[in-house]
Symmetry: C2
Subunit: 94 residues, 2 copies
DNA sequence: TGCTCTTATCAGTCCGTGCTGATATCAGCG
DNA sequence: CGCTGATATCAGCACGGACTGATAAGAGCA
């Protein structure tokens, strides 16, 4: 799930979709990447539940799902919180 | 930066460090990975500013930096927020 | 100082995965 | 229908990066 955000192009797609739903042709134009490449990444993101496809006639609009992103953000925030509370709990070596 | 959290072993290390600073031998034992592998990942995490090394005699304790993790969490949360506010701003295709 | 233990570094291999080119599918429109 | 344009799928290639084995560096202890 977090792995999906690791690839630069995929992160770029997500940032673009954060400005509102967009169709594949927009993403292709804005990123400069080839269309099959974008399509592949969108399939991966769809499979991870980060985006949904909304077909409108010939075009397919993709929408970023805020809940999924927020879930990841929450998990990381919780990790940070745990690290803060356990800052002094050093496990001693034998 | 986010890329550092993509690798499963590195994420595991970070989770372990969230329970408090630990030395390399602990991480080796808990993850079951070989020591050079752990050391390499720790160097990467150190380079990304996610952890710091605290040498204590022969041992080296590693500490997770909560601020770094929280920064990433904040960026993701902001992305989710933007997606929410721009949910209806669909860019029409020509 | 010599020995042991912990950690760091390096060279090499191997595998996952992102990119590309070709092609298929599908919707609208003449 | 046949054509055009948008998107999806697939096979092959290539490259980055994770893992391993050997080895070095450094600190404590006899």
């Amino acid at each position: 799930m977090i792995r999906m955000l690791a690839d630069p192009l995929r992160l770029r797609i997500i940032e673009l979709l954060a400005d509102g739903p967009a169709c594949v042709c927009h993403l292709v134009e804005d990123t400069g990447a080839k269309q099959p490449n974008i399509s592949n990444h969108l399939r991966a993101l769809r499979g991870a539940g980060l985006v949904v496809a909304e077909p409108h006639g010939r075009f397919t609009y993709y929408r970023l799902l805020p809940d999924a992103v927020e879930t990841v953000a929450g998990q990381l925030a919780e990790l940070a919180q745990r690290a803060r509370t356990n800052a002094d709990a050093r496990r001693e070596c034998p």
